[in-house]
Symmetry: C2
Subunit: 219 residues, 2 copies
DNA sequence: AATAATTTTTAGACTTGCCTAAAAATAATA
DNA sequence: TATTATTTTTAGGCAAGTCTAAAAATTATT
């Protein structure tokens, strides 16, 4: 039984939504990310449920099954490896590669992906700092994660930075973002992805997505 | 107006068939290569004719329009560049790459293809010796072509070889395949792609596809 | 030139993946 | 808790791309 582009996209998006919550994923949330109407999502969830890729109860939202998660991780692996390729080998900037990787992730060839992995020297993260699953679907334990990738409401400690330019480090100091500080995202603004951040339990302050990307946090 | 995978495949296959004949391409020939039924091909030809990509008259076969040929050459360019990538950078053998390139050729990003071209150092031919069109759709003038790619009935002269192992050259000598010999394919056997070859006007002899690939001919 | 064989097209149908509009279920609020 | 608002599902429909079976056109053969 083969899998279509559309199905791969749904699985990938359900996976993405699952990363930042333990709750069931809503039809509307999926509709927004797939750019489809809720009715179409319902349709697809029913079909994928029959195939055993998701656990879906009408009106109750959806979660990936073990099989569905393995498939999703496989797509994520391909997506992130291709992103590394595009940035490290083809000279794209990290903000130009998403659309192309969305296409490349559907290329079907296990041996190609293995060779690509080797060619790129077995990277552990993509150009955005997201971890790359191995071929068994296991995520490498990095011990940290970019602040921008932390789920809302989960606290962690600042353990490092992904960039060490002087201007960046000066900004951190000014914001009271010091090593060891306890950080918790209270809100992410959809418009510019800027982040409301609670530092050491104080009132939230606003930082840019760019800053949040470069601050590394241990959960 | 965008183009679908299916349409790209049809255009590419009509182009391939057009390379080896000046006659109009038959519905059945296309059906065989696309692995579809003739009825489906008729349908698609009608649609592509409306879009102006082919010149099609019922029962009379089809030819690419100027626009259709440009699109086809673009796909061929992508296909052949990806083949070079797969062989030169990923370590595949030349006989393993076709299926993967069939998928990669549909990736849509002009800037990616340009960067890939540069990354591969602007190759003029793919791993099978077929010329790679430039981004304007122009084929490089190679001055030669693998014997295996010559159309049936067209004569040319042996100007070189694509391989120089001792056993191969010894075989050429035994077959009377010498530099400057006049060669004309009289038949290609579908089963193993072996070639019936007329040498200097003599009665045809049989050579393998492998040999025909490695003999270079000037038309 | 008439008939037979082959090729191509038409007609009608099916699947996938999407849509809109209306109905049903759930969640929020007075 | 009753009503309202929101979310989700159902029902019916549409386009793309394919299929089979039958009809029409072309080509080959007697």
């Amino acid at each position: 039984m083969s899998i279509s582009f559309a199905e791969e996209n749904y699985l990938k998006i359900i996976y993405r939504l699952s990363e930042s919550t333990t709750e069931d994923i809503s039809t509307n949330a999926i509709a927004e990310l797939t750019q489809n109407k809720a009715a179409s999502v319902t349709d697809m969830l029913r079909k994928m449920s029959e195939k055993g890729w998701v656990n879906y109860q009408k009106y109750q939202g959806v979660r990936l099954s073990a099989i569905g998660e393995k498939i999703a991780l496989d797509i994520v692996r391909k997506h992130r490896l291709w992103e590394v390729f595009l940035v490290n080998k083809m000279g794209f900037n990290w903000d130009e590669v998403h659309e192309i990787a969305e296409q490349l992730e559907h290329i079907e060839s296990e041996v190609l992906i293995d060779k690509l992995d080797a060619f790129l020297d077995y990277p552990r993260t993509d150009p955005h700092g997201d971890p790359i699953p191995n071929k068994k679907g296991e995520l490498p334990q990095l011990g940290y994660v970019p602040l921008a990738n932390m789920p809302i409401g989960k606290a962690g400690n600042l353990v490092g930075v992904a960039q060490d330019s002087a201007v960046f480090l000066q900004l951190l100091t000014k914001l009271n973002l010091n090593l060891g500080a306890k950080l918790e995202i209270t809100e992410i603004n959809a418009f510019d992805l800027s982040v409301s951040l609670r530092i050491d339990g104080n009132a939230p302050v606003l930082i840019s997505h760019e800053v949040a990307k470069n601050v590394l946090v241990k959960r």
